[in-house]
């Protein structure tokens, strides 16, 4: 297992280098000069030129690339072109709110999705089954910005159950609507995956064996069927969490949450290459680590999966 983890972590390095290389190339060809933008609509050419020098934009791309990786080693990713805040600080300050939102959303998604999927599987072809899957279809199809606005109108404006948007006084209540909005789609996906996974497992011989051995229905469903149906759900949860931690742009913007997503979109619009590169590095690391954790969790659900020199199912 340790070897496997070590090899996976080592494989991160070429992935990161490749992703950052692509970002460097893309940011060099996309139109828009960050130094020009920093002075506003009207600016003095000498000031713009000095800004380009200060930001290192006048150096060859390969040199900027090497300097960036030197900074990665020394944990100095430079400063935001726009705000002059250290990149690591800019991301670190916004990460807690994004993390809270991601965790809350996924927790809601898993509990509601698994429950709905399980009920639908156990009551297959009933009104409950059809209703659950229609709800799941709506959840996958409805655009999140529309859902968010509807929730605000209902819970903030009409019912006054939620005081408002933003972070307010920092209490959990301000996370409810954003979490509902962001968690809706993964909940729908998890419900469908749980249902199909459960239906497949419930038809297996070992489930019949478990029942014939006298196990309670609860033990059969939860301890055997659900557990074995969880592998695809865990995969979705893992990739979903990684995406959310990279920043839920639409939800953060709609609810005025100061998260990583908003940082990224502003950086792109304003060609803040320092933030873009730092954020891409951060997202690549998140994806790699999350995927690794997901893979390492598989044996918990399927003991036949073991990690040695190679992953294998025995």
């Amino acid at each position: 297992m340790t070897n496997y983890v070590f090899r996976r972590l080592l494989a991160v390095i070429p992935v990161i280098v490749g992703v950052i290389a692509v970002v460097f190339i893309l940011t060099s060809i996309v139109p828009g000069d960050p130094a020009r933008l920093m002075v506003g609509q009207r600016g003095d050419p000498a000031t713009i030129q000095k800004l380009r020098e200060d930001l290192g934009l006048n150096r060859p791309l390969w040199q900027q690339f090497i300097d960036f990786f030197k900074g990665v080693v020394t944990l100095d990713l430079g400063r935001s072109y726009r705000t002059r805040m250290p990149v690591i600080q800019a991301i670190a300050e916004r990460l807690p709110i994004t993390a809270r939102l991601a965790l809350a959303s996924m927790a809601l998604a898993v509990t509601s999705g698994v429950t709905l999927g399980m009920v639908a599987a156990l009551k297959q072809n009933s009104m409950l089954d059809y209703g659950s899957m229609i709800a799941a279809l709506i959840g996958i199809s409805a655009p999140s910005f529309w859902v968010g606005i509807m929730l605000v109108v209902l819970f903030c404006v009409q019912l006054r159950w939620i005081p408002g948007t933003g972070t307010g006084d920092g209490s959990w209540i301000y996370l409810v609507l954003p979490a509902l909005t962001l968690g809706m789609r993964p909940a729908a996906l998890i419900a469908r995956l749980t249902r199909s996974g459960m239906l497949e497992v419930l038809g297996q011989d070992y489930i019949r064996t478990a029942r014939s051995k006298g196990l309670t229905e609860k033990a059969v469903i939860i301890g055997h069927a659900l557990k074995n149906a969880m592998i695809p759900v865990i995969t979705v949860v893992g990739t979903g969490m990684a995406e959310m931690l990279g920043g839920a742009i639409v939800v953060e913007k709609l609810f005025s949450l100061p998260g990583v997503g908003r940082l990224g979109i502003e950086a792109i619009l304003n060609r803040d290459f320092a933030i873009i590169r730092g954020q891409v590095l951060f997202m690549a690391l998140i994806f790699v680590v999350t995927n690794l954790l997901v893979d390492l969790s598989y044996p918990l659900f399927d003991p036949r999966i073991k990690y040695g020199r190679t992953w294998r199912r025995e």
Binding site: P31, G32, D33, R84, T165, T167, F255, E266
Partner: protein, 518 residues
């Protein structure tokens, strides 16, 4: 005493500020907060007139070269910021030496202030900027409370320009201590001091207990306990938060809610013409815009009032020329372009395009710009002008303009300082091609002469004539499609008192006299 002390004034801003360092606060989100934390030598009142601020009075020499400012005594820098962080200056008094240092700091190439070049008329600017001298020759402390600024040449808007937020006094000790992080730990003399900044969320200011200004009855100012600027990117959410009572003010009421806002808040929805113009620029060196008749035709083909009434709820003034109403030099009798598609067709035919033309309008992605562009596209058809629309983000648009790829583009301009120089010279004089402001590459020798001479003319009436003459030339030559002049707005809760809309944009508003009647 009629005014009440207390309360926090919470307002929404659409973009997070970039820096609270006056030297780098070049955007309106930053400047609206900087104006609460810092102060300039002079200010501009709600009628656009220059009034005293940290300079009690001033004298301008007859030749317009020497400005002598008598500074107010007893003005102190903030003694603390954040959660009890004692500032390096310790709350000491501001003297003329602080102003000398401030101007040097702004012009210092190492600071690389985005607006340093505004001061290029100060004597010794070039030598200091290029490192040939250690001192800035033209800015001198004559004594502890007398500051003298000497110019290389007269510049009539100079005193007005000094109200710009970049030219606020700053404490050397704190700037040197914080370095690049001064923008996150600002220390000024303003009515509010810095408390907290949560990036992309809010900036919190608290009352400056040692503020120098008093009200008419001698009571200390400000009345408010503090201010909170909340970043809410979405206008619908701003309206929602305002309706929930979570904000005291919003600056932009989106068009769908405009009439509702007027009905619900008839006395506290403030509006006034703003010193700004919305226009489409035409690169006069590129076909077909190199032909004056084509440019004039386009100006005749647009129904400005129709666009304003149907798309902007009447929240703008049709533009006859460059200068907006309320600005010195504005000519109410200026003959602009009427809506006359037939005349437009005739002009196109005279220009050699009897069958019409096809042009591409490029604009930065935004809902309002899109609606106006689409309306414009429809209107142009009646004049035989086929308009293709292309939208892109601001960065790409600037690049396209700079490279000459965007020959017909949307722009807007709100003054940096309320003087016609900041419109006519900056945006249309041939000395300012490209990023300096003249994106149309318009050049007219008589226009250049008039706007150059108006800069150094000290007689206001002579200046007015020159600017009006210059504007007539540019309207006739039409390097712009003049669309409309902006309206500045502020929607306040009814209990907000004594707020006054500034003349050139809500981002200049001051709050030391605002109070909450609740």
């Amino acid at each position: 005493m009629k005014n009440k002390y207390g309360g926090t004034y919470r307002m929404a801003i659409i973009q997070s500020p970039l820096s609270l360092d006056p030297a780098h606060a070049a955007d309106t989100s930053s400047s609206r907060i900087v104006y609460q934390l810092f102060e300039t030598l002079v200010d501009v009142d709600s009628d656009g007139e220059v009034i005293s601020n940290l300079a009690k009075e001033w004298d301008i020499s007859d030749n317009g070269l020497v400005y002598t400012f008598k500074l107010r005594q007893g003005v102190k820098f903030h003694s603390a910021i954040g959660e009890g962080i004692i500032t390096e200056n310790g709350g000491r008094e501001v003297t003329a030496k602080d102003w000398v240092w401030t101007f040097k700091h702004i012009i210092d190439p190492d600071t690389n202030s985005e607006r340093a070049y505004f001061l290029d008329m100060i004597k010794g600017y070039a030598d200091y900027r290029e490192g040939e001298t250690e001192a800035l020759e033209g800015v001198v402390a004559k004594d502890e409370y007398t500051l003298e600024i000497v110019l290389d040449h007269p510049f009539a808007p100079f005193i007005t320009m000094l109200a710009y937020n970049t030219f606020s006094v700053i404490p050397r000790e704190d700037v040197e201590m914080w370095g690049q992080d001064f923008g996150f730990n600002p220390v000024g003399t303003g009515p509010f001091r810095f408390s907290e900044w949560i990036q992309d969320d809010r900036v919190v200011l608290t009352r400056n207990e040692d503020y120098w200004r008093k009200d008419e009855e001698g009571n200390s100012l400000p009345y408010l306990n503090g201010m909170e600027f909340r970043t809410i990117n979405d206008l619908t959410m701003q309206w929602t938060e305002f309706g929930l009572g979570n904000l005291e003010a919003i600056e932009s009421v989106d068009d769908p809610y405009y009439h509702e806002a007027l009905e619900k808040y008839p006395d506290s929805f403030l509006r006034k013409p703003q010193m700004g113009t919305y226009f489409y620029g035409m690169n006069v060196t590129a076909k077909p815009f190199d032909n004056k008749k084509v440019r004039q035709a386009i100006n005749y083909a647009i129904d400005r009032q129709g666009i304003i009434d149907r798309l902007r709820n009447g929240r703008a003034t049709p533009a006859k020329g460059v200068l907006p109403p309320g600005m010195f030099g504005y000519n109410p009798d200026l003959e602009g372009y009427t809506y006359d598609p037939q005349k437009a067709r005739k002009l196109l035919a005279e220009a050699g395009y009897p069958d019409g033309i096809e042009i591409t309008l490029q604009y930065n992605t935004d809902d309002i710009h899109k609606r106006i562009a689409e309306a414009f596209q429809q209107q142009m058809k009646d004049a035989g002008i086929e308009v293709k629309l292309r939208h892109m983000d601001g960065a790409a648009l600037f690049e396209a303009m700079g490279k000459g790829e965007a020959t017909f583009f949307r722009l807007g301009w709100v003054v940096d300082y309320p003087d016609p120089d900041n419109f006519l010279h900056v945006l249309l004089n041939s000395a300012n091609f490209g990023p300096l402001g003249n994106f149309t590459l318009y050049k007219n020798d008589e226009f250049d002469r008039l706007t150059n001479e108006a800069r150094v003319e000290s007689d206001p009436e002579e200046r007015r004539k020159m600017y009006q003459e210059a504007e007539k030339i540019v309207v006739e030559e039409a390097p712009w499609l003049f669309v409309y002049h902006y309206t500045t707005e502020q929607l306040l809760q009814p209990y907000v008192k004594d707020y006054s809309l500034p003349p050139f944009g809500e981002h200049n508003a001051i709050f030391y006299s605002v109070w909450l009647d609740k």
